[in-house]
């Protein structure tokens, strides 16, 4: 063994030492000196997530506007535009929230409404569309329609005439034989001015419990323990009331 070592020429030995030093050097740098975020996937992912999370918010969200513009929010909530958020029309408004002096966009012109309401054959049937060339062409839309509560037009009688989707879903559901009016109290006026006169909607868990709680004497309804089932959520946060399922 010693012989073998001795037989290795001096310059090779020195070279070996140099190489060994380089290798330890590289290993030290790679594993100890370089910040681990450079080499560990976990850290670079974490820093990417942090960078994403820190990005600026531009749209403030639908709920906050009502804090200061309660009148507008209330009005809109009951009208045809209830699904149209403030920022859909007024543009991003986070900077307005931070400083109300930064006023959001206001486009009262016809072009803006037409953008959503002009007739287009690709649009779902039933979405209210007009022919902008023929529909009161000379006036701004907002002279006749309040943008926050556009005026409704006349409509017919039966529940299913206006709530066709709900009615057709319900006819094939376990609740098919339960009439609309056993869950909703519907004033006769609702059929004439449906938005200003509203039927009631169940608002407590106990309501569904009438038929579904263990103690109920309604035999054909499956039973649950009202105290524990679904915890603190309302029943219809999980079950669609017009087509309940076991899931």
């Amino acid at each position: 063994m010693k012989d073998m070592l001795k037989r290795i020429p001096e310059q090779i030995k020195r070279l070996a030492v140099v190489i060994a030093v380089i290798i330890t050097g590289v290993v030290t740098v790679r594993y100890f000196i370089l910040p681990s975020s450079l080499t560990d996937g976990r850290f670079h992912r974490q820093s990417t997530v942090e960078r994403e999370t820190a990005k600026n918010i531009v749209f403030a969200g639908a709920t906050i506007c009502g804090n200061c513009h309660g009148d507008k929010a209330e009005k809109k909530k009951a009208g045809y535009h209830k699904t149209v958020n403030c920022e859909t029309c007024h543009g991003p408004a986070q900077s307005h929230i931070e400083n109300p002096a930064n006023k959001p966009a206001m486009s009262g012109g016809r072009d803006f409404c037409v953008f959503c309401h002009a007739y287009d054959q690709s649009r779902p049937t039933g979405f209210p569309q007009i022919n902008p060339v023929l529909h009161n062409p000379l006036k701004a839309c907002i002279t006749c329609h309040n943008p926050h509560d556009p005026v409704p037009s006349q409509t017919p009688r039966e529940c299913s005439a206006c709530h066709a989707q709900i009615a057709s879903i319900k006819t094939v559901s376990p609740h098919a034989l339960i009439g609309c009016t056993s869950c909703h109290n519907v004033p006769e006026k609702h059929k004439v001015s449906p938005r200003s006169v509203r039927p009631t909607k169940p608002d407590t868990r106990e309501f569904c419990g009438k038929c579904h709680r263990k103690e109920s004497d309604r035999k054909d309804a499956p039973k649950i323990d009202l105290a524990t089932h679904g915890e603190r959520f309302l029943c219809w946060e999980c079950h669609y009331p017009h087509r309940p399922e076991r899931m």
Binding site: T28, V29, Y31, F32, I33, P35, S36, S37, G41, F43, H44, R45, Q46, S47, T48, V49, R51, E52, T53, A54, K55, N56, I57, V58, F59, G61, A62, H81, T83, V84, N85, E87, T88, G91, P92, D111, F112, V114, F115, C116, A118, Y119, D120, Q121, S122, R123, P124, F127, P132, I169, F233, E237, C238, Y240, R243, E245, M247
Partner: protein
């Protein structure tokens, strides 16, 4: 200090400093106050074709929220207009984000509709598999992100995405894509496109929450995903999807 001593000290000092730093980093990386825990969430989006009116406000809102360049035509989300004629021909065109004049009416149309598209945030993402530097990855809460510091702009992922959801950002020269507005959703807000959709054609939610709107949406509708045969397991769920949509 002689030379020998100096070298000796140096040999000891540098690795020791390295080890110390390593320990420090680890200590800092410990999860913080633990308010938002990604392990409790899994995000997805529902798209109701029957409700989309093709207004394009989602495209515009996305660009504003995420600094997507206006020109040329790059988008993180876009809307396609399908026109299917009686003779069976299908034309698909991406609608413009700008407000546009009413489209010319076409004849012999069998059916026509709009299809909003975006990154499907696949559970089994092809883009992640092809990235040579590991710059793109799926977070625990189910969103595929790009590390713009690591991305080398090689475009493999853009090629690999079967949904065409990625593009090369002209300013950073790195791959860019929809993040479900990650910076919003971790704060409990909705993605910008969902926020502005006037007809609730886009539904956003947490698949891990029984009480989320998305879960209800997927139960009360017949759901399809795009290109299911590719086994990418998308988390964008379409209701009333026409058989012709690719």
């Amino acid at each position: 200090m002689n030379r020998r001593k100096f070298i000796k000290n140096a040999i000891l000092f540098f690795p020791a400093a390295g080890v110390f730093r390593h320990l420090l980093k680890d200590a800092q990386a410990k999860p913080g106050n633990g308010k938002y825990d990604p392990a409790n969430h899994l995000y997805g989006m529902g798209v109701d074709i029957g409700k989309c009116i093709g207004c394009g406000l989602c495209i515009e809102a996305c660009k504003k929220e995420n600094n997507v360049p206006k020109e040329p035509f790059f988008c993180r989300t876009w809307v396609e207009r399908y026109v299917i004629k009686r003779d069976g021909s299908v034309t698909v065109a991406s609608i413009e984000a700008q407000k546009e004049k009413p489209r010319a009416e076409e004849t012999d149309v069998l059916r026509s509709f709009f299809v909003p598209k975006l990154c499907n945030q696949c559970d089994n993402p092809p883009c992640v598999q092809v990235c040579p530097v590991g710059a793109t990855f799926a977070t625990e809460d189910g969103v595929v992100l790009v590390d713009s510091k690591r991305c080398i702009g090689c475009r493999y992922c853009i090629q690999a995405c079967p949904y065409g959801a990625r593009y090369l950002h002209p300013e950073t020269r790195t791959a860019d894509k929809c993040t479900f507005c990650y910076h919003r959703i971790v704060k409990g807000m909705l993605p910008a496109c969902v926020e502005v959709c006037p007809t609730q054609a886009r539904i956003f939610g947490d698949l891990k929450s029984m009480a989320s709107r998305l879960v209800r949406f997927t139960r009360i509708n017949k759901i399809h995903v795009l290109k299911p045969h590719l086994n990418t397991e998308p988390k964008v769920y379409y209701a009333e999807l026409d058989g012709e949509v690719r």
